[in-house]
């Protein structure tokens, strides 16, 4: 295999492998977004639970923090004996990583609600579920969305490494390229990942703006 690295050869690699790059990009998005969706559901749920049971706040956020600090390659490795390799352990690892920011943002978003608002809601006779659905979640939404955005961008990055345990995605090109000192291949994986990360960030910024209730838009 030749490794020149000129702009032209990079371009020709892209053109010749367009289908592959496209397929890997989709795989990458799939792994990252599946993890975002599942970890949002879990993280927001846990975040809500700890606003109700204050005793759990410190241990839950503590554990999520510890998980967050585990190096990703080590976490992938830890999961292999239990789940094996492939997409499954990758998604599970990404879900675990996302928990800290999702739980914390949900918790902060809900607990930052003005005490007077809580008292008024209770005093007016809203049930706990009504208050959650009509007040707490909508008011906390911008903060929760910011958490989801962080988790999503993080997942795009970490999913690259997940190629190492057979989860596919653009990381596959990078690892292959490194192993065979094939610059064009490395770049064919790296550039789309970078664009994907930037694009994801931007997409979630727009989504956040769109979902923020009009009455809260002045805050940001």
């Amino acid at each position: 295999m030749e490794s020149g690295g000129g702009l032209l050869s990079i371009l020709s690699y892209f053109i010749n492998n367009l289908r592959l790059i496209f397929k890997l990009t989709l795989e990458h998005i799939e792994v990252a977004m599946m993890a975002v969706i599942i970890s949002t559901i879990i993280g927001v749920a846990i975040g809500i639970v700890i606003t109700r049971i204050k005793k759990l706040v410190t241990p839950v956020i503590g554990i999520a923090g510890v998980i967050y600090t585990i190096p990703s390659l080590a976490l992938f490795g830890m999961l292999i004996p239990f789940i094996g390799i492939g997409v499954k352990p990758a998604v599970i690892a990404l879900i675990l990583y996302g928990q800290l920011v999702l739980i914390r943002n949900t918790y902060v978003g809900i607990t930052q609600i003005d005490r007077a608002v809580i008292e008024a809601g209770k005093g007016m006779g809203m049930s706990s579920w009504q208050f959650l659905g009509m007040v707490e979640l909508p008011v906390a939404l911008p903060v929760i969305m910011a958490g989801i955005r962080t988790a999503a961008v993080m997942n795009i990055g970490t999913a690259t490494i997940a190629a190492y345990i057979g989860a596919g995605g653009l990381g596959w090109l990078i690892f292959r390229g490194i192993a065979s000192v094939y610059t064009e291949q490395i770049i064919a994986g790296a550039v789309p990942v970078i664009l994907l990360a930037i694009g994801t960030d931007y997409f979630f910024i727009l989504l956040e703006r769109f979902l923020t209730p009009p009455g809260l838009r002045h805050r940001s």
């Binding site: 003005d114 005490r115 007077a116 608002v117 809580i118 008292e119 008024a120 809601g121 209770k122 005093g123 007016m124 006779g125 809203m126 049930s127 009504q130 009509m134 007040v135 909508p138 008011v139 209730p213 009009p214 009455g215 809260l216 002045h218």
Partner: protein
């Protein structure tokens, strides 16, 4: 006696650590009255009203609403039947003014059109133009406007009882006075039982039908503003209501409280002779002239009649006479009299009909007898 709507029976509330927030309270509140809970911070006044809508739970005792033990009523239904207005308003920041106001009606399933009509009606009631304010968000309102919306929200589902926890406490003095005046105007329009918490004695006197003065979880005195000021139960109440309660009391009185009926009046169609005869009878050299509907027209003076023996009084009367309304405050009336240099004023109602007169002598008599106590005046 009026119907009892709320009854506290030996109610106590102890907080963990043994603080007695409310200590063995028993009292009754009648339908339609405004009871003000007054006292220094930490006296248990807020806890007392929160016990009613079960934001606080009594350690001991029973609270009855319309004869029913509140602990046996579903807490959500109970709260929806009691309006709740608090100092920091607590408007939902992501909802418009209309959505905030219609929240309880929405929860209890009113139709959309009924909700919309109600929102506009309430906005007008609290003096906010519906078309301008309906779709605004709380952050686009001033402090006073927010509290108006808060009050409208408390009234939304037409609850018979409303709890107001220092609703005007966070506002600047001018806005506060304005909202207090509107509160009074509102009360004359809607019949509600109101439990109002404040630490401001002036507010309590102005707004309360009765005042419960509280200290360390107990009610020290529960009486009308007049009685609280005139006959404070102990040194604490006396200190709390302050030294100038005579002046405060003056704010409470309306002209209708001290006026006397106008006896020497005459219709404008009466003849000069008739007028002279009446003056003779009443030993008066001035008559008040009214039209057939009793609307005040002016006065006729003896010196104007001396050389006349025919015709009606209509053309002879002095029409340039200041009047005062029955609902006017005493202090403002005194000011008017001093400014105009008059010693008496005709009193008229909203339709300008003559109701009576007030004179400087009446003020003096009134303050030296009932309603004006010696200590207060000192």
């Amino acid at each position: 006696m009026a119907h009892t709507i709320i009854r506290f029976d030996k109610v106590s509330k102890f907080f963990p650590g043994g603080t007695k927030a409310v200590d063995d309270l028993s009292f009754e509140i009648y339908e339609g009255e405004c009871v003000v809970f007054l006292g220094p911070s930490g006296c248990g006044k807020t806890t007392t009203i929160k016990l009613l809508n079960r934001l606080e739970h009594p350690t001991d005792g029973t609270i009855y609403l319309n004869g029913k033990d509140t602990s046996k009523i579903d807490v959500i239904a109970l709260r929806r039947s009691i309006g709740y207005v608090i100092q920091d308003v607590g408007l939902f920041p992501h909802m418009t003014v209309a959505q905030n106001i219609s929240l309880v009606p929405r929860l209890i399933g009113w139709s959309i059109t009924t909700q919309e009509t109600r929102v506009d009606e309430l906005l007008r009631l609290v003096d906010l133009e519906p078309s301008a304010f309906r779709d605004r968000y709380p952050h686009q309102l001033s402090g006073g406007q927010r509290q108006r919306v808060g009050v409208a929200r408390g009234l939304a589902a037409d609850p018979p009882v409303i709890l107001m926890d220092e609703p005007f406490g966070a506002l600047d003095p001018i806005t506060r006075a304005q909202l207090q005046d509107e509160f009074l105007r509102l009360r004359s329009k809607i019949k509600k039982t109101i439990l109002f918490v404040t630490h401001d004695i002036d507010e309590a006197i102005k707004l309360g039908d009765r005042i419960a003065v509280m200290r360390t979880g107990k009610i020290v005195q529960f009486d009308t503003p007049k009685k609280i000021m005139g006959e404070p139960a102990d040194e604490f109440v006396k200190d709390f209501v302050g030294k100038d309660c005579g002046l405060k009391l003056m704010k409470l009185l309306r002209i209708s409280d001290i006026m006397v009926p106008a006896l020497n009046n005459i219709t404008e169609r009466s003849g000069v002779v008739e007028a002279k005869k009446l003056m003779e009878e009443r030993k008066s050299d001035i008559l008040l002239v009214v039209d057939d509907q009793g609307v005040f027209q002016g006065v006729i003076r003896f010196e104007l009649l001396t050389n006349r023996n025919q015709g009606s009084v209509k053309g002879l009367m002095d029409r340039d006479i200041p009047t005062v309304k029955t609902e006017e405050e005493i202090r403002a009336t005194l000011e008017l009299m001093l400014k105009k240099g008059v010693v008496w004023l005709p009193v008229v109602d909203e339709e300008e009909r003559l109701k009576g007169i007030v004179t400087m002598t009446h003020f003096a008599c009134f303050f030296s007898s009932e309603g004006w106590n010696q200590e207060g005046a000192s």
